[in-house]
């Protein structure tokens, strides 16, 4: 079986297993390419019916505007129910990535927000598009990742996991994060997007965009909330994004890759890893592991 077919089949198996054991499943939909692939796999897993769960987007209010319009159009086109949650108390406290720094901002607007909405609906099986090749602590995680009633991940106490027969027993309040794309790489994702012609946010493709350079990284000026330093100037550059998150925390890369084919060609010869544009990964040593322990994805 070809690589992509094999990965696809395994992911479908994971998604069906989780739903079969779930009381209230939900799919974290972060609008990125991985989410798009995961959603496509879920559509296949339950075809000719629709997936029996809603999509959930934790909206920090700092996403690229194109992401939000893509999100709404996708849910509408597929007829999927979409839940959007924002940490209201964080907004009221005026939590801002430029003022408070990425660490506090991520804690409040992402992790805390996620915990709020999971508790509110009592979701017990939560799909996420994380891949093991993204980051070292993710490389250590199970496909079915147990979380206690505080949503905490205990990396030293992960359940043994036997392929095909996961142990999904849990008590009230406990949950699982489920990662159907665990074994996919960035290139697999793009090749699959090409093969299946999956729509993705246009920000992944190179275009002239307004950017400022800050600490060696290119930040896109998506709205007027980006405070400019005295010596900074907005210029236009042909850039694209390898990963998409909140615009203040996601750097663009100079690129000419204007379509899927070109993106794949670019990645086949890339010398930098995918998350080099993710500013939150570098907050502190083991930062992703610590965030995940607190309930971040």
């Amino acid at each position: 079986m070809p690589v992509l077919a094999q990965l696809e089949q395994e992911s479908i198996r994971i998604i069906r297993e989780a739903v079969a054991e779930a009381e209230r499943p939900v799919m974290l939909y972060s609008i990125g390419k991985d989410s798009s692939v995961m959603l496509h796999l879920a559509l296949k897993a339950f075809y000719p019916l629709l997936p029996p769960f809603p999509l959930l987007h934790v909206d920090t209010t700092w996403k690229f505007r194109e992401m939000i319009s893509f999100r709404d159009a996708t849910a509408e086109r597929l007829g999927m129910k979409l839940l959007v949650h924002t940490n209201r108390s964080g907004l009221e406290r005026g939590i801002d990535p430029f003022v408070h720094g990425s660490r506090i901002y991520t804690d409040v607007m992402k992790t805390e927000a996620l915990r709020q909405v999971l508790d509110q609906y009592g979701f017990d099986m939560i799909f996420g598009g994380a891949r093991r090749d993204e980051e070292k602590s993710r490389a250590k995680e199970r496909v079915f990742s147990f979380r206690n009633s505080q949503h905490r991940w205990e990396p030293r106490e992960q359940r043994p996991e036997f392929w095909g027969i996961p142990n999904l027993m849990k008590n009230r309040g406990e949950s699982f994060r489920v990662f159907p794309l665990s074994d996919w790489t960035e290139l697999d994702v793009w090749r699959y997007i090409r093969q299946e012609q999956i729509p993705v946010v246009p920000l992944y493709f190179a275009a002239e965009r307004p950017v400022v350079e800050r600490q060696g990284q290119l930040l896109m000026v998506d709205d007027t909330r980006l405070p400019l330093m005295p010596d900074e100037q907005v210029r236009r550059a042909k850039v694209r994004f390898r990963t998409l998150g909140c615009y203040p925390l996601t750097a663009a890369t100079l690129s000419d890759a204007g379509d899927v084919e070109a993106v794949i060609r670019e990645l086949e010869t890339a010398t930098l890893s995918e998350r080099c544009g993710r500013l939150i990964d570098f907050d502190q040593t083991g930062s992703m592991e610590l965030k995940k322990q607190e309930g971040y994805f």
């Binding site: 079986m1 690589v3 297993e17 079969a20 070292k136 250590k140 392929w163 027993m169 930098l272 610590l290």
Partner: protein, 652 residues
């Protein structure tokens, strides 16, 4: 050359400090699978945390958890992705510590082939042999034995040949279990320096075998095509009717064309063989026959499904199929059984003991399972079968299992999907063991239950009472026996037929062969449960007074009885009070170390989570406690209401 277009899953295992993470990290580097920024981080961290002097410490690429980096050990499996010009690999770096064997087993359950590392200076260690055994039991046939740290032996050819001989012996030993890995390839390397990883080393002119990369490029994928009979364990049921609306309008069209008003698709992973449209199939365990109507694979309808595909079937006619049922060709059905001989790998700190009940999960459904006998533990020195009455964490052994119902299965070597299972602790939800089915045991079929001409109901009716068990549990000196005696007195005074079981009439008679170790305590409780069951069948109200410290044992007894016939009464007198009373001086002896395994002192007491009644801690009102139990029995209809107590029911 294009070897295969599939992803190959490779496990790297072996004992602690043999260099697995270093090997994989170095391999990633040499094959150009590391990005510039990852390399920058590696050099920077090697200088700060590395344990390999001036050279980069490649293990830091793999050990991604903070605890791992601080301690310089691997705790859990790391997955890395490696692509060469011809092939894509998923490498699972498994921890070598015995303590984390469960994580190694997790990785082994998914891999096609394994790299087993050992340190040339120390040779085979028990953990190396344990990993080899687990790989073999999990069906990994392709093994590369990497003799690492050859530089430390001065690239000694003699040492290498010696280890190669051991390796041949190892594979021979493994054939004792009917599992025969292919003769492994043995390669001398230095993972740190990179010798024989991707290029021939100048230090090993005497070696003419493949490098690690050569082996990776040539190892065959697991063969899915072997036709042992198609198996589709139903994982999930797609179900929708006419009213179901979808913006895509797929379903209404489908229902119109099939002339049905409901859609039922049976989803699952196909293994063992292919299935095609129109084929006659049987649904197990019921055995009902029908035929395949449609086969969905993603968005497409296909005519024939191949092993390894995730499909959704529709079947002709109205069928009752649920998750865990198994759809198979009508002419090639698996056996069904409720007693098995199985191999298990123990994964949890709690030991696997006969008499304990566990949740049994397999692709073909769930059941309650009891270990009826531990046949042996497999020793690591030469894989000999050793006598054992329990299996501890990380042990591998063979046991007999009794399930609460019959399930379809295949022996693991015929079909790993329908031949494997996990055992789960029903209280803690820990995965206690994983296992492979060897064969069914027929003994159950030979014991035909004696068909009584007098039914238990009739015996109970004659006594004008509803039999049940009142199970008092609590610490030594908590007052169980006093309450039991007072309760029996109350019941007998009301005209009930009773029996009291306690330590004196059981420990000195029926169970005088049992001691106080954990297996003996379980057997003690099991026998008491069985005796209590016989007595309720005789129509008696049975009162028992035993410490019965383990939750799982009380649950085991509970499951012997119909719902509502078993009353767990927790005599919740606190330890301090019991110890103060100490009527037999036992606590004093336990504290001074004379009595080992004394509940509450050096052996645990697990409080009931769902007792029918908890008697107020330390109140010491024996008569009141007995009355409280009587009140409970009345309120649930086991005893007549108080006002009627002296008046026999009319007509009896």
């Amino acid at each position: 050359m294009k070897t295969s277009d599939a992803v190959l899953r490779i496990l790297a295992c072996g004992s602690v400090d043999d260099g697995k993470s270093t090997l994989i990290g170095h391999l990633l580097f040499l094959t150009g699978n590391l990005a510039e920024d990852q390399l920058r981080v590696l050099y920077e961290e090697s200088a700060r945390l590395g344990r390999s002097g001036a050279a980069p410490d490649y293990s830091l690429l793999l050990d991604g958890l903070l605890a791992e980096r601080q301690q310089g050990i691997t705790i859990d499996v790391a997955h890395r992705y490696l692509a060469t010009a011809t092939r894509k690999y998923i490498l699972a770096d498994a921890p070598g510590h015995e303590q984390y064997t469960r994580n190694m087993a997790t990785a082994a359950s998914r891999c096609d082939a394994a790299i087993l590392l050992l340190d040339a200076t120390t040779g085979f260690l028990p953990q190396t042999r344990r990993h080899a055994l687990i790989c073999a039991l999990f069906g990994i046939r392709q093994l590369l034995l990497v003799v690492n740290k050859m530089d430390l032996t001065g690239w000694s050819r003699e040492r290498f040949l010696e280890i190669s001989d051991h390796c041949r012996q190892l594979t021979e030993d493994l054939t004792l279990f009917g599992v025969c890995p292919e003769q492994p390839v043995v390669v001398p390397v230095s993972a740190l320096a990179g010798d024989n990883l991707t290029a021939r080393s100048p230090h090993t002119s005497w070696y003419d075998g493949p490098t690690v990369l050569d082996w990776l490029q040539s190892v065959p994928c697991a063969d899915l095509r072997r036709d042992n009979g198609a198996r589709l364990p139903v994982q999930y049921v797609l179900h929708a009717g006419q009213q179901w609306a979808d913006s895509r309008q797929v379903l209404p069209e489908l229902l119109r064309s099939s002339g049905s008003d409901v859609f039922r698709g049976y989803c699952g992973h196909l293994s063992g063989g292919s299935l095609q449209q129109g084929e006659r199939v049987a649904i197990l365990p019921s055995g009902v026959e029908t035929s395949v109507q449609q086969i969905w694979s993603g968005f497409r309808l296909i005519e024939k499904a191949e092993p390894g595909q995730e499909i959704a079937l529709t079947l002709a006619g109205e069928q009752d199929v649920v998750r865990g049922d198994c759809i198979v060709p009508a002419g090639n059905r698996p056996e069904q059984a409720d007693r098995f001989k199985v191999r298990v790998v123990c994964l949890d700190t709690q030991a696997l003991l006969p008499g304990r009940r566990y949740r049994f999960r397999s692709a073909c459904g769930s059941a309650t399972a009891e270990i009826t006998r531990i046949r042996n533990r497999i020793g690591l020195a030469s894989y000999q079968r050793l006598a054992a009455d329990r299996l501890e964490m990380n042990d591998v052994g063979e046991v007999e299992l009794q399930l609460s119902r019959q399930l379809p299965f295949d022996p693991f070597d015929r079909n790993s999907q329908t031949g494997s299972f996990v055992l789960i602790d029903q209280g803690s939800h820990a995965s206690v063991a994983c296992g492979m089915i060897l064969h069914p045991l027929r003994r159950a079929a030979n014991i035909h239950r004696h068909r009584e001409t007098v039914a238990p109901d009739e015996r109970a009716l004659l006594k004008a009472q509803r039999p049940c068990v009142i199970w008092l549990t609590g610490l030594s000196a908590s007052g169980k026996s006093s309450i039991a005696n007072a309760l029996e007195r109350l019941l007998v005074d009301q005209g009930c037929h009773t029996m009291l079981l306690d330590g004196d009439n059981i420990r000195h008679g029926l169970n005088r062969d049992l001691g106080f170790t954990e297996p003996d305590r379980i057997e003690n409780i099991r026998r008491i449960g069985e005796v209590a069951k016989l007595m309720t069948e005789a129509g008696l109200i049975v009162i028992t007074a035993f410490i019965s410290p383990y939750r799982s044992d009380r649950d085991m007894v509970r499951q012997m009885f119909a719902e509502g016939d078993f009353f767990e009464i927790h005599v919740a007198t606190p330890l301090e009070v019991c110890e103060q009373r100490d009527p037999k001086g036992l606590y004093r002896l336990a504290r001074s170390g004379v009595i080992p395994n004394f509940t509450g002192i050096n052996s645990p007491y697990e409080e009931p989570l769902q007792a029918e009644l908890v008697l107020a801690a330390g109140a010491s009102q024996t008569a009141d406690d007995a009355m409280a139990i009587v009140g409970m029995l009345r309120s649930c209809g086991k005893l007549q209401p108080a006002t009627d107590q002296a008046v026999p029911e009319e007509g009896v």
